[in-house]
Symmetry: C2
Subunit: 476 residues, 2 copies
């Protein structure tokens, strides 16, 4: 008698690590974009690369669609599987295998939490640069899949600039090592292609990451302005002056008030239309020269309030407000929809005015946080997913904002990816031949489309309809 | 009447820029690895991306094999086309389109000479890090194709770590933009895959490159030792101590004497078995702390001679010797064969002993230069290509050394690529399934194998024989 795939998976990872119970599966029916939900048939929790390979071989043999995920903090519905599919949750693979201080590299498993790597590296005078707002929870494997950014990426680049090599399992269970390291100069270097491929090419089972030195000094300043456009003007002036802050972050008044009403309270001025957080890092001599120039420019736009963090504690407080804003905004309504789009930095004021216009037309509150240096906006819609009409409204509003990003010369995603959320908009950014090339490339790795089907690329109609049924407002 | 492809090319670029005369074609029958030669049917010199596209469309329509090249300084036979093929020489596309000091980026055409970019950027306090020995001549497009390195790559990484985005023409004449830039986060990021693909996927018509700041201070020291193994021990000790020199270069006695006998004379000690050049760069405070540690380690291995460059002029002289060594060695015999292989740094002494063994068995002199920090060796064979027996001997000796690199856990190429030279060895480094994956990926871009056929991947037998006939010792 042939054993079922479920039995085979249990014999690989142990019965405790194959979840099939509806209650246990509930946690895996969506990522942090709750507009899309679909319960998998099972969740498997392998503990090492060999188990991942063995699990993938079984799923491949049974032609069962599957996807890998980490902490599920993604914001574009990238880790949902169609009905009958299986999720490989890699959160047990959380070992930092080595930190090589000499070569400034870390070798880690994909389930390591982003912040844990920097915490471990700190004693050696090093850190891992990409710092998504989710960094206390999100995993490095998930960061890779979405090419995660964060405030510091303005200076240091996104995940793709820090991934040196990657150990992967392909959808048929075979194993590859893709590298840019000089000692493996002949290996295929598909790192950049894998970064941001939303888990649709291969499953990363090991990552070699670049670490960078801790800065000699850090200076954080906060300036509060009357309005968002004023904060945007200050941003433009700073960049035009050739200053190189590590981060340039803006929060609008709704975000400020949400933070101040929450446990993330940071003493931000509630009366301000916007706060701008600018951080500089580097050798003391450089900061002594450049900080006065930065402060002068911030002052030029007549801030209502201005402070320079004089202590590590003050700095921590400012960032607590910024990094906690997402969580604080989540408390405004039962659900939130955190968007992600990009415009050229010079068009920030325009897109923010448009977001305000869209907000007025929906009647739902929209708060704004953005990585101003990169032109990467993150409008947060507060809504109630139990109301199908509100779901429809926020989804349509999101698409309108993204279309305007494209019109302004920007793009659909800065760091959240395309996922299920934006795939219907891809044809507006890319030509048919560009999309066909992406499809052919994906097919080289994932010819049967078993691994994470339907993400990142426009779906054939039948498949799209299957996923539409997963929309919460449609199937409730 | 249908116009010939030659006429069509002339009407695109102008008759002056289509070379068909045998004398003019002579310069294009090989790169700097003269073991392989084949005269193209024509050479076209387009002056911009649109002309490249138009030329490629014609060649695609007529199903004529073609390849792009820059200065032809490659060392693996990567820019030869089979009989009847066409070479696009991109040396007219040599504009530096912009240098953005604020973003530390340069946008350049592929025919820009490597060193010209650093020279232009210097006034803005910036430089381009990859520094192949050929940098006064070789072009950035060619550097991209081979993922060129250089002495400074020990600290700063190779071309793949400095390419931010690239504008390409595919083999059917279509155009793509592949980027890792945050403002194009949605674009395909195939930079790493393109880097080192030896011109077989697409033709780069524009590059966006990362620039890095000029160092606050540079300190160059030279230590001469009795033997190559002693120099290798010093290298290991420096790296083990956690020092981070920007370059760690070794030259053996034959290389030293060749330099001293040439116009590149640099005052190197002829009696030394090896010289080690170590360079540190960075903020003054860092160098004040670390240089004494470096010098102490170099002294520990009892150098015959030791000097620290106290002036820019002294530093220039040391590097003149190192960078001129390739040219100096070229004068020892009518031809030279410069090899390229990689071993783990800890196996350097072993591979060098093996090179000596091979040298003894061939009866031909072999001089050695190597990027010791990266374990990247470059044995130089001096021989006479007019003697078919010598050609056969050096080629066989090269293959023996490369096989030993693989046995020691290294790889076939550090920075020269596979080209025609090493393709018969690929099956010894990669599994059949890895090679099949590479082949499928290449076929996505280059399905008819018109663009640079036969390079970088094992060739089908018929094709391999066609290229074998191009070996100078076989067809003379």
């Amino acid at each position: 008698m042939q054993t079922s795939w479920q039995q085979q998976l249990r014999s690989i990872v142990g019965a405790n690590f194959v979840l099939e119970d509806a209650a246990a599966l509930l946690a895996y029916e969506s990522d942090a974009l709750t507009l899309f939900r679909c319960q998998p048939a099972a969740v498997v929790l392998p503990q090492n690369a060999e188990e991942v390979q063995a699990v993938v071989r079984v799923l491949h043999r049974f032609q069962i669609p599957f996807t890998a995920r980490g902490a599920g903090t993604g914001l574009s519905g990238g880790v949902l599987v169609p009905k009958g599919g299986v999720i490989l949750c890699l959160s047990r693979m959380r070992r930092i295998l080595s930190i090589d201080a000499e070569k400034r590299r870390a070798t880690v498993e994909p389930g390591v939490v982003n912040l844990h790597l920097s915490q471990q590296a700190e004693a050696l005078g090093l850190r891992y640069a990409p710092d998504p707002a989710s960094q206390t929870v999100s995993t490095l494997g998930g960061n890779l899949a979405e090419n995660a950014g964060g405030p510091m990426c303005f200076l240091h680049g996104t995940t793709t600039h820090h991934l040196l090599a990657v150990d992967v399992v392909l959808p048929d269970g075979s194993r590859e090592f893709w590298s840019s390291l000089p000692e493996q100069a002949d290996d295929l270097d598909l790192r950049g292609f894998l970064c941001g491929s939303e888990g649709s090419l291969a499953i990363a089972v090991g990552l070699v990451l670049r670490l960078i030195p801790l800065p000699e000094q850090v200076i954080t300043v906060l300036a509060a302005y009357d309005s968002v456009p004023q904060a945007c003007s200050a941003v433009s002036a700073i960049v035009a002056a050739g200053l190189r802050p590590v981060a340039l972050e803006v929060m609008d008044q709704k975000a400020i008030c949400a933070v101040e009403d929450s446990v993330y309270r940071a003493g931000l001025p509630r009366d301000a239309g916007a706060v701008l957080i600018a951080e500089m890092e580097g050798p003391e001599a450089l900061l002594q020269r450049e900080t006065p120039r930065l402060e002068e420019l911030l002052q030029k736009f007549q801030p209502l309030h201005f402070e320079r963090a004089e202590s590590a504690e003050q700095r921590r407080l400012i960032w607590k407000g910024r990094k906690g804003a997402g969580g604080a905004l989540g408390q405004l309504a039962p659900d939130s929809y955190v968007m992600d789009g990009v415009v050229p930095r010079s068009r920030l004021a325009e897109i923010m005015a448009y977001v305000e216009e869209v907000e007025a037309s929906t009647g739902l509150p929209v708060a704004n946080l953005f990585h101003a240096g990169d032109g990467n906006i993150h409008p947060h819609f507060a809504y109630d997913a139990r109301d199908p009409e509100q779901c429809r409204i926020v989804e349509e509003a999101g698409a309108r904002i993204l279309r305007r990003c494209l019109d302004l010369g920007g793009s659909l995603s800065g760091e959240h990816g395309i996922g299920l959320e934006k795939q219907h908009l891809l044809r507006e950014q890319f030509t048919a031949s560009e999309l066909a090339l992406m499809q052919r490339l994906r097919a080289v790795f994932n010819p049967q489309n078993l691994l994470n089907p339907g993400k990142g690329l426009p779906m054939p109609r039948g498949c799209a309809e299957a996923f539409h049924r997963h929309r919460r407002y449609a199937h409730e």
